[in-house]
């Protein structure tokens, strides 16, 4: 009987020690730049991500190449890469730690973002769950990115600089593996 209990306990521990892996299956990241004369958007679908949930919680990492953002204009995209030091620091990385996979319709997450050689945290960023198909999870939200946080010089036109706030619209679908 004692052995049976020990066996059950070990079985439970082994299950608890197992980790669930999550993979980013689809994503759209769109930055929005605002200037007094016009607004610009650049989109990337090239991000990749992975998540691991275990007894310690869920850790997610998402990264996108800086040069994968397309604003529809070659010159602007190259200027964006130059301004954000995208050749020296070619990836924008977002790390998230959650206690569990979100179960409700909304959730908040603390994000650590590495971009342009700098690292900044954004606390309690709200997201809305959009789907839970096939055991996966889809959600969207807006990361309140500010270029001043990363010491990125603001491009200007006719003596007027862009706004420091460059929000990133996020739409992601994750699948469990």
């Amino acid at each position: 009987m004692r052995r049976l209990l020990l066996l059950s306990l070990l079985g439970l521990l082994s299950v608890a020690a197992r980790a669930d892996n999550w993979v980013l299956s689809a994503s759209t990241l769109t930055y929005r730049v605002t200037h007094r004369l016009h607004k610009v958007e650049g989109t990337s679908h090239a991000s990749r991500g992975k998540g691991v949930c275990d007894a310690g919680g869920c850790r997610f990492l998402v990264a996108a190449p800086v040069n994968s953002f397309d604003s529809g204009d070659t010159n602007r995209d190259l200027h964006m890469i130059e301004t954000t030091r995208g050749a020296t620091f070619p990836m924008v990385k977002v790390s998230v730690h959650l206690p569990t996979i979100p179960m409700g319709d909304t959730f908040t997450a603390d994000l650590d973002i590495e971009f342009s050689g700098g690292k900044t945290g954004y606390k309690a960023v709200p997201f809305t769950v959009t789907s839970r198909a096939d055991g996966g999870i889809g959600f969207k939200g807006v990361i309140p990115l500010n270029v001043d946080d990363f010491k990125i010089p603001k491009p200007s036109l006719l003596g007027m600089a862009i706004k420091a706030e460059v929000p990133i619209d996020v739409e992601m679908t994750w699948s469990e593996r």
């Binding site: 079985g11 082994s14 980790a19 992975k50 990264a63 070619p90």
Partner: protein
């Protein structure tokens, strides 16, 4: 019985370790290496960064000079003499002003163009899109027109100086210069609102 339990225990532990993708609770943090990017996508390229920086500086100079050059170009167009209606003395004065402004415009135009032509291409070389493509396409109009306009203007001046009526290709000097100025201003405006 003891053997059975020991075997079962060993099997269970082996399964818990062997499950694909399974990790222990104290596993390391995820890194970029876990995401499957190609090595060259992750590689820092300071040489490319320096190239992009040089490109930006040169195009910024191109942009500023382009805006400044618009002034003598417009002034040249506005000071174009009317050979048919004015007397000779007035024409000489107007022609001198027009000629000097034209020379200044041409020199500044070529200087402006040189910064764009000499700026290093980025990694999207030859794959222009958006308004940058339109800006570059307009150069195929204003560049030949900017070259032809002073040549035709010189011919027109010589014909007028000889007392001849303006004829031949010289009579299109005004139109060619208008096309040059118009396409130049269009190319400039495209980029002013497309930074």
């Amino acid at each position: 019985m003891k053997k059975f339990f020991n075997s079962g225990l060993a099997l269970l532990l082996a399964l818990s370790v062997a499950v694909p993708g399974a990790r222990a609770a104290d596993s390391k943090d995820l890194s970029l290496d876990d995401l499957g990017f190609q090595a060259d996508q992750l590689k820092s390229d300071p040489a490319m960064q320096a190239k992009l920086h040089k490109r930006s500086r040169m195009l910024k100079t191109h942009q500023i000079l382009g805006l400044v050059t618009a002034v003598p170009i417009l002034a040249t167009v506005m000071t174009a003499p009317e050979f048919e209606s004015a007397n000779t003395k007035d024409i000489d004065s107007e022609v001198d002003t027009h000629k000097m402004l034209g020379i200044a415009s041409g020199a500044m135009y070529l200087t402006t163009a040189s910064f764009a032509l000499a700026a290093p291409e980025g990694e999207t070389a030859g794959r222009n899109k958006g308004l940058t493509k339109l800006h570059k396409a307009l150069a195929w109009i204003h560049f030949p027109a900017m070259v032809a306009a002073p040549i035709l203007g010189y011919q027109a001046y010589k014909q007028a100086e000889n007392g001849e009526s303006i004829h031949g290709s010289a009579k299109y000097h005004r139109e060619v210069a208008g096309v040059a100025a118009g396409s130049y201003l269009a190319a400039m405006l495209v980029m002013v609102f497309n930074f």
